[in-house]
Assembly symmetry: C2
C-alpha cells in the first residue's frame, strides 16, 4: 500500500524565495490527504503534480496564517474545476467563519458538500477512521490552540502461506476467512490453527505531523515508534530563548523528540525565514538523531 508524503511548504511565518508556508500532501493507498494549507499551496500542488480532485480530506493544525491561508483559494478552485464529491475538513472551529465570510463576499457557492469536523486542542481524539487509515489529533502547546496529526495505517489482513494452502487444497472461498484469522477444519475433521496457514501482516506504519509547538513529554507516548516523524524545527538551538518565547522547537529539540519517541526517521521543517540555507539546522538535528532529513519543497518521503 502506498504511504508517502510530499512536502509542499517548509517555511514558517513569512515565506522566503523558494520556501513556501506549511503544507504537505500524504498519499495513502492512492488517496490524498492534505495537511496544512499555507498561502500558495494550490500553486505548489500544480508544480508537484498533486491533483486537487484526489484530495478528500484536509487537516489544518491551527489558525496562524502560514498554515491555512491557502485553503479558501483551493476550495474556490475545486468549485471552478467542477468538483462534485464531498470534502472533509478537520480544523479549529473558527476557520469555518473565515471561509464562510469569504465565500459570501466573493459571491461563491460551493456546489460540493463540505463537512467540517472541528478539532479540540485539549485532548487527543480519533477524528477519522476509514478503510486505510485512522487519524488522531495530537494536542500541542503553541501560542494558540494547535493540534498535530497522527496517521496510522490500518492493519492489513494476514497473508496466506501459499504452499500450505495448496498442500491442503483449501478451497478459495475460505481464503477471506483465513486472512481474517479463522482456523480451518479439513473435510476429514482435522483442525488447522490459523497461524499454521497464514502469517501476520507487517506492523501498521505511522506518520506523525507535529507543528507548531514547544517540545514536551506529554505527546511522546502518543507518537511512540513513528515510522516517519515530521517535527517543526523553526530555530537553531542558539535561539532557544526565542523558540520558547514564540512556542516553537529548535532543531536540536526536534531530534531529541525523535530519540525519546523512538522514531524510525525524522523530517524537520517550518524553518524561520532568517535561515537562507538549511545545513546548520540539519547538522544540529543529525548530531542527536542521524536519521534526520530536511523538508524541502517537492521532496517525497516514503513512509516505510
Amino acid at each position: 500500500m502506498k504511504f508517502e508524503v510530499t512536502i509542499l511548504g517548509s517555511s514558517s511565518a513569512t515565506p522566503i524565495f523558494n520556501r513556501n508556508p506549511s503544507a504537505q500532501a500524504l498519499n495513502i493507498n492512492e488517496r490524498l490527504y492534505l495537511v496544512d494549507c499555507g498561502e500558495g499551496t494550490q500553486q505548489q500542488m500544480l508544480k508537484f503534480d498533486i491533483k486537487a480532485r484526489r484530495i478528500d480530506h484536509i487537516f489544518i493544525s491551527h489558525l496562524h496564517g502560514d498554515h491555512y491561508l491557502g485553503l479558501i483559494g483551493l476550495l474556490s478552485s475545486m468549485q471552478l474545476n467542477g468538483r462534485d464529491k464531498p470534502l472533509n475538513i478537520f480544523c479549529p472551529a473558527n476557520l469555518k467563519e473565515i471561509i464562510d465570510i469569504q465565500l459570501k463576499f466573493s459571491e461563491t457557492t460551493l456546489e460540493y458538500e463540505v463537512n467540517y469536523k472541528f478539532t479540540n486542542a485539549a485532548a487527543a481524539e480519533v477524528i477519522l477512521d476509514n478503510a486505510d487509515v485512522t487519524v488522531e489529533t495530537i494536542p500541542l502547546d503553541h501560542r494558540m490552540a494547535c493540534t498535530g496529526f497522527l496517521f496510522r495505517e490500518k492493519k492489513r489482513m494476514r497473508k496466506l502461506i501459499k504452499e500450505k494452502v495448496e498442500e491442503l487444497k483449501i478451497p478459495v472461498e475460505y481464503f477471506s476467512a483465513l486472512k481474517k484469522g479463522a482456523d480451518y477444519t479439513a473435510p476429514n475433521g482435522k483442525l488447522y490453527k490459523n497461524d499454521t496457514l497464514t502469517i501476520d501482516s507487517s506492523e501498521p506504519k505511522t506518520y506523525v505531523y507535529c507543528s507548531d509547538t514547544l517540545p514536551g513529554d506529554w505527546y511522546i507516548d502518543q507518537i511512540k515508534n513513528a515510522t516517519l516523524l515530521y517535527h517543526e524545527a523553526t530555530f537553531l538551538n542558539n535561539m532557544l530563548e526565542r523558540a520558547i518565547e514564540t512556542h516553537h522547537t529548535t532543531a536540536l529539540q526536534a531530534a531529541e523528540i525523535a530519540v525519546k519517541s523512538n522514531a524510525k526517521k525524522l523530517i524537520i521543517g517550518h524553518f524561520s525565514a532568517r535561515y537562507k540555507t538549511l545545513n546548520e539546522l540539519l547538522d544540529e538535528a543529525r548530531s542527536v538523531f542521524p536519521g534526520t532529513e530536511l523538508a524541502i519543497e517537492g521532496r517525497v518521503f516514503e513512509i516505510e
Copy 2:
C-alpha cells in the same frame, strides 16, 4: 521620473503552472503601488524583487478571490517584518471585514496604521492625489462591484532654457518661480515672458488598469490616450458567449478598446486557465491593435 509596471500575476480565476492570479506592482518615482493581490503575490514579490516595505498603497479592484486572497498574508508579513509606517488600502468595503476576522482569529495585531479608503463602483472618483500621481477609479461592469484604476502622473514643472537663463544672468533664487510659470523682470525693468525662458514639460503619462469587465463605451472617454493600457482579455473571441456570460472581455475586444481609446500601447492579461500557451490571444489582439503585449509574470513595462 520612473514610471513602470511589473507583472506579478496574469491568471484569471484559477492559477495554472507558471501563471499566478492578478497582481501588478507600479513603480512611480521609486514608490511602489500594488494593484490587486491574488494568492501568492508575496511569493511573486520575492521572486521579482518587489520590496514590500516600499509599498504604501494597495488597490484592490474587486472581491473575487483571484484579486485579493494574497492581501492578508502580505499584511501579516509586513507586521512580522517590523513595518511601522502607514499603509493605504483602496478597496471594496467588505474587504475590511474579511481582513479583520482573519487578524482576529490568527491573533495578529498590526502595529502599523492601515487606512482604508473604500471604492465605489457606481462613479469615477479621484481616490489618491499625492506629489507624484493622481489615481481615479474606473467603474467597470463585472458580476460584482468592480473598479479599474487610472494612474496619472503629475504634470512636471517647466524646464529652464539654460542658454537664455545664462545669457540674462538670472539669479538662481528665481528658478523655482520660473519653473512654475512666472515671468521675469530684469533689473533694467525689461519683462521676459515665461515661455521665452522655459519650455513646457512633457504631457503627464497615464497607466490604465481595467480588470475585470465587459468591454464597453462608458469608460472610453475616461481612459482616452493612455500611455499604457492594461486590459483584461480572459478569452479568445471564439468564446465570446462565455465572455459575455461571465462579464469578461476577449482579446479582440480588448484590442478594440485600445483602438477606440487611442492607447499608445496595450497589455492584455487575466488569461483563462484553459490557455496553456498565449500566442493565439496575442495574435488576435495584434490583428486589431499591433502594439499589444502579453502580461507575463516578471515582465516589466516602462510607461513612456
